[in-house]
Symmetry: C2
Subunit: 201 residues, 2 copies
DNA sequence: CTTGCATTTTACCGGTCGGTCAACTAGCAT
DNA sequence: ATGCTAGTTGACCGACCGGTAAAATGCAAG
């Protein structure tokens, strides 16, 4: 309740880069505590379990993402389809800068965690799903405005938005397998070629 | 050297579904040994390390995949673009049947492992990368034949093949986050809308 | 029958895992 | 001053981790 419970945020700050760079199972509480200069008992004062920590970490990443270049990319002032270009660009530069600092492409922590834990923990899966759903909505809104403004031919905005999100995650996955963010640069722009037509009567 | 070293294959058979359903870090040697009815010392007679086991498991999955419906899908007798439809269909039905049996969408083990280990183990990453590269080549060959046969307009077959592979992995990832293979059915066919134009003179 | 090798068994290693507990400290309100 | 509470400490839990070593088997070739 004092200056923002320093300990708690130091724990999260120590956990974030580790979970991003490795995996949920491979990062232990002990290591996090040591790096944060916190005792284990103190850790469990703030987080009932490891799962609660990763939840908090996911939330922080989601906030970073939403308030960072995603907010810029989905700027209503930009023509709709340019926002998508902007987002791809931003993802590319982000991964590239991480690689420069860290030596490796770390990819998307939401994708990473999804494939690792979603068969083992439905609560975590639900949390990650909610984040993807929000991201999809961003795409969908953008597509709707693009259609309304006559920038693109009408299509199923909901499904196409989902397809675009899937494509982005897939490109990041493949880039990670090559440890090379440049793949994002080469494949990214093709996201705009994805189209799912409206079905219906 | 006798009847195909029963023990070794029983270990792999026990390991496969576990690594597919959970994660590399979350499945222990001990559990695999118990399930295979093998002593730990015996395990280490056949596999120098856990990493060697996962390598063998990856190889077996790759074989299953290559000799299973992928071989059917990329049947040269089919019109090129239909092969891609066929592949998506096959992936859909496969994930669906797994979910019926197992209760969960397990996704693609190559994608799962890539996101989990590729920042931590370059040898595993290289192995997984090789599998993706082979898959990409299948797409590329198919696209080349589609272009040659006039089924589609010319494009950059190499990049488009990579984009298609990325899209497939991304759709599987998103489907796993929803624990719902139906997403593959809805989004899969849009893979054919992906296009990356040839650059250059 | 014996040698030699592949295989298997069993016990064991140090280390780490996520998590618990009781004692203690500090600050604040009554 | 007292009591309450949030926070902290450090020792501890049983279970499991990946991996090792040595002795005991089974079996086949000489």
């Amino acid at each position: 309740m004092n200056i923002a419970s320093d300990t708690r945020s130091r724990i999260i700050a120590a956990a974030k880069p580790r979970f991003h760079a490795r995996s949920y199972a491979n990062v232990g509480i002990q290591e996090i505590c040591e790096s944060a200069g916190v005792q284990k008992g103190s850790f469990y004062h703030f987080f009932p379990s490891k799962r609660d920590l990763i939840m908090a970490v996911i939330d922080e990443f989601a906030d970073d993402w939403a308030n960072g270049f995603v907010a810029e990319a989905f700027d209503p002032a930009l023509p709709p389809m340019e926002r998508i270009d902007y987002l791809i660009d931003a993802a590319y530069f982000w991964q590239k800068s991480i690689k420069q600092v860290h030596g490796r492409m770390l990819g998307c922590i939401f994708g990473n965690l999804t494939l690792e834990v979603s068969t083992q923990d439905d609560i975590l899966r639900a949390k990650l799903l909610a984040i993807f759903t929000r991201a999809k909505t961003r795409f969908k809104d953008t597509l709707e405005q693009a259609v309304a403004g006559g920038f693109i031919a009408p299509l199923d905005t909901s499904l196409t938005a989902e397809a675009m999100l899937a494509y982005l995650e897939g490109v990041i996955l493949l880039a990670k397998s090559q440890n090379d963010p440049e793949l994002l640069y080469r494949l990214g722009p093709a996201i705009k070629t994805l189209r799912i037509e409206k079905t219906g009567t």
